[in-house]
Symmetry: C2
Subunit: 444 residues, 2 copies
């Protein structure tokens, strides 16, 4: 057999193959915890090139690791062993014309989420997936990890927003499932199975995504709450009052706010009161005839009367709403700049959030007294991003990372939840050709 690298070069052309120093930017994950140097990085220009690369790697016994924006937190998009080819979809970033009547669009897997948002703006339609990494996360990675984000409890996760897929399967064949219909039961729901499969069942090359009409009006508020129980009670009330308009219902803690304010320039907290817990509320309606601001103001008033809300402010503009959201979205960056950290992505039934937070705090303080706990996440669907920083004055976790992960995973399961909510499993959990070490570990 000839040198597979020469063959890969021949398939991909000079722009399509990176090795040595050129491959370094692709090697490590965002948190710099995972990834060894790969044989090289393939940057195919189209589906046929992806298929040819997969076929060749299979024949040559090389592992294939698909990579999107490489914003993942679990190492699913970087190599675990040296004899691997990273397949970056970044050159496949074409955005089709939206089908306005059917509410759908065909995109290549390398499209950056924010670029899709922008491309849709003039058309009155939107793709309702929003998350902190949207400026760099790519559609293929969002599908591979079955991403959720802040709007998932209203609009669903990627598996709910993907109508059709084109996938290069592990044998290098192209599976054409690019149908633009919601109701499609002709065979098994493979399009759903590929969502969250993290590249182990193939490489997603194109997708048909479901679009929604852009809301005609939005409203938002930042609320300061005394504790988690109050946040949960107020959230339940709001789900009743604001019904189908509720688009975002995010919580965060003062620990995380402090870390963001400390490390992120230009970030300002504008309310007078600080609390233990904060809620970000966002309402949106497709109809101009819904009194959104009134509904939100009344709910806020009720919460203050009940002692559930200490302080709060309604956003007066889209820019003002964006300022509120930055307080939450800069927290991962703030905590990263603080030093070492442990991240857990947990999901519990929404009614059990307060119980999980209380029990989790006791468990973590037992393991390492003074550990700083920074949970934030999505109150609407019970998804908690449970992040730890060492106690003030310490730089590490005293070798106890595994104990935290085990204890929190056990607590999540015991609470009826999951220890892998929306970030995927990646290499954070204990393999073949397709993305070895991710999701499934075998002895290949």
């Amino acid at each position: 057999m000839t040198d597979p690298v020469l063959e890969l070069r021949a398939i991909l052309g000079p722009k399509g193959w990176l090795s040595g120093i050129d491959a370094e930017p692709y090697q490590r994950d965002w948190l710099n915890r995972y990834g060894v140097a790969p044989l090289g990085v393939a940057r195919p220009a189209n589906t046929a090139e992806v298929a040819a690369v997969v076929k060749l790697c299979r024949e040559a016994g090389l592992a294939v690791v698909p990579q999107g924006g490489n914003t993942g937190l679990c190492g699913g998009a970087v190599a675990e062993q040296p004899n691997a080819v990273i397949v970056s979809l970044s050159r496949m970033a074409a955005i089709g014309k939206p089908d306005l009547d059917s509410g759908s669009i065909v995109v290549e897997a390398g499209v950056v989420l924010a670029a899709l948002h922008e491309a849709l703006e003039p058309h009155g339609l939107m793709f309702p997936m929003h998350l902190g990494a949207e400026g760099s996360a790519r559609i293929g990675g969002l599908i591979g990890t079955n991403a959720g984000g802040s709007h998932a409890f209203r609009y669903g996760m990627m598996q709910d927003l993907v109508l059709g897929l084109e996938v290069v399967t592990p044998d290098g064949a192209v599976w054409d499932g690019l149908r633009a219909v919601q109701k499609d039961n002709a065979g098994y729901q493979l399009r759903k199975l590929y969502c969250g499969a993290e590249g182990t069942l193939g490489i997603v090359t194109r997708a048909v995504l479901r679009l929604y009409p852009t809301p005609r009006q939005q409203a938002g508020a930042l609320l300061v709450m005394p504790d988690f129980a109050a946040a949960v009670s107020f959230g339940a009330f709001l789900r009743g009052e604001a019904g189908e308009f509720l688009t975002g219902l995010e919580f965060f803690c003062d620990v995380g706010l402090e870390l963001a304010l400390r490390h992120v320039p230009d970030l300002a907290y504008q309310l007078e009161t600080r609390g233990d817990v904060y809620l970000l509320v966002e309402l949106a309606s497709g109809s101009a005839r819904v009194p959104l601001d009134d509904i939100l103001a009344s709910a806020l008033e009720w919460g203050m009367e009940q002692g559930l809300v200490l302080d709060g402010a309604l956003a007066t503009s889209g820019a003002h709403r964006a300022q509120f959201w930055r307080l939450r979205e800069e927290q991962p960056e703030g905590q990263r700049l603080e030093g070492e950290q442990l991240k857990h992505d947990i999901s519990v039934p929404p009614g059990a959030i307060a119980r999980f937070i209380e029990a989790g705090a006791r468990i973590c303080q037992d393991i390492l007294p003074g550990v700083r706990i920074n949970p934030f996440g999505h109150l609407g669907d019970g998804n908690i991003h449970y992040n730890l920083s060492p106690p003030e004055g310490r730089v590490d976790f005293d070798g106890k990372a595994g104990r935290f992960a085990e204890a929190l995973s056990a607590l999540a399961t015991q609470t009826g939840g999951s220890f892998a909510a929306e970030h995927g499993l990646g290499r954070a959990d204990p393999q073949g050709t397709m993305n070895p070490g991710v999701l499934v570990r075998s002895t290949l």
Copy 2:
């Protein structure tokens, strides 16, 4: 080996095994087109009994065919070969206590959909799946076929409404996936894969279903339209105006209305005008502060000014709304009583509905001049139930059933759609222990 029937009797007890004349009610499908006499009907009382039956059948080489309400249209719940055991879930009909804070409920697979609706009424929560057969369709069958129904474009299909599942796998093991969280990416999305697998991957025994708050107000209207193009245009306008309130957007034709009025007692059409096409519109909101009736009345007025709506009436009460819906929901019964019929369950991108209907009519009239075409379905998601009756005066389709199916399937694919939308594939499409002949045909 001992007689498997004796062993099945021992597992199931006297109430749990039916054979001979007692098994007859389970033998044929609703349309009386599929089903041979099974070895017998197992009626297990719990998951352990289901598992024991599957294990025994596997060892004895008997096919296992799970059956819910047996309301399916594609023969997926009846036996294709004599050496089969029908497993009826009808005795497993327990409904758990709803988790009000989390918006979820655990139910056994034999629960009838309408019984679930009724059980939820006092709790202010609802399960948003509605279809004609809800008085007899059971949860397990709805999951097996990944049912859709009239509210799917707002709330999703079964795969979107199932949070967790318990499944007896083909080897008789019990897979416990009964988690009550939306965001769960710990491994492949098996819960989604089981939806629509029609019993070929195992028997669903219990499910965690997602609940929504009961709307505080509803509004509905029946509209008479000159043609399909007008119905599609008005539908697009309404999706813009009524945004997230739009819960139902159903179309039907005068052919189907006539069949229902002819054969179904107590059914009355109360408007003065008849048209070629009709729309049923339903709006619902969780907030009391949305002017639903005004929104619907203004849309109706606009439609009349534009010449898209010939006549229309707003429902004045829930009972009135139900009368409107019966005009659509009694059509399958009306057409069944008219005589022989052909049914096709097609899905196209919503924007392509009018095009499909026009092209389909030309094709069908070419195949058999005078054939009566009765398409009805869901304008919001492009799902067309495309039903044929023979020309007036004829009792059959002149042996052309296969040609209709082939031509319509080709047209659906060509239009970017699917020939199996929400009824499943069953035995309508060209086998194993698990539901042989359904979805996957092998040479076992």
